[in-house]
């Protein structure tokens, strides 16, 4: 009788243990599923982050390129101005003595254009005429790079 009770006890304990173990496995399974969902979400977020970083990097490169282009076209405008004063050993002073009125007229015209260049550089929007200028006679010769986006030097 004692031995039977002993085995019944063992059997019941085993049953309860197995039940508990199964219950625990089910609980673990639920947690693992939730973890998997979270990991998938984390992976997806990481992918988005990498994509955004890639996009940011491309934007950085593009901004850098545009700034370098701007610096080089502005440098060219400055070189052109220098050429206007000194082209073929030109002496503006002597020219002004010889052709005072015409040099005065040219100076005032260029001064007005240069003034407009400063307005544009400070953020003034381009006029339609400035935007559409494609010929030498239509452009702002003091700063075509910023005043006439559609002008291609020829």
């Amino acid at each position: 009788m004692g031995i039977r009770l002993f085995f019944i006890g063992i059997f019941i304990s085993a049953l309860i243990g197995a039940g508990g173990y199964i219950f625990k496995l089910q609980k673990d399974n639920t947690i693992l599923k939730a973890n998997a969902v979270k990991l998938e979400s984390a992976v997806s977020e990481q992918k988005t982050l990498i994509e955004n970083q890639k996009k940011d990097f491309e934007e950085l490169l593009d901004a850098n390129k545009k700034m370098n282009e701007l610096v080089s076209v502005l440098k060219k405008d400055l070189e052109d101005l220098d050429k206007r004063f000194n082209k073929k050993n030109r002496d503006v002073g002597k020219l002004a003595i010889q052709k005072t009125e015409s040099i005065e007229r040219i100076t005032n015209g260029a001064s007005a254009l240069a003034t407009r260049c400063i307005e544009i550089a400070s953020g003034s929007p381009l006029t339609e005429a400035e935007k559409n200028a494609t010929k030498k006679s239509e452009i702002n010769s003091e700063c075509p790079s910023i005043a006439n986006p559609n002008y291609i030097p020829y």
Partner: protein, 112 residues
């Protein structure tokens, strides 16, 4: 036996993963863009030894004080180049600001 089973099964438990995330966006600066300059046109007068008297006479006739601030041809050239340099710097600085704004506040750019 029961205690032993519970004890053993509890040892290798799977812990729930917790991910904490809290993103607080920084306040935008949103400074107003400076108003573009509207400049007055200057009038340049060229004076030579030949026309000086005539120039001053004309000024008097126009009711303008017969006095002029002078530059030599070389200084005029330098002034023109200095202004061109200032203009270039202004343009670069403004474009730089635009690029920063475009990069850090892209939605602001779209709204504009």
């Amino acid at each position: 036996m029961l205690i032993l089973t519970i004890f053993l099964t509890s040892c290798s438990g799977v812990k729930q993963l917790e991910i904490f995330k809290q993103e607080v966006p920084r306040e935008k600066l949103n400074l107003n863009t400076p108003t573009p300059l509207e400049l007055e046109n200057l009038r340049w007068i060229i004076i030579t030894s030949k026309n000086a008297d005539e120039v001053f006479k004309k000024l008097e006739e126009q009711g303008i004080d017969p006095v002029l601030w002078g530059l030599t041809d070389k200084d005029f050239e330098l002034l023109a180049k200095n202004f061109a340099r200032i203009r270039n710097q202004l343009k670069i600085t403004n474009d730089l600001l635009d690029k920063y704004k475009e990069y850090y506040e892209p939605e602001v750019k779209k709204d504009e």
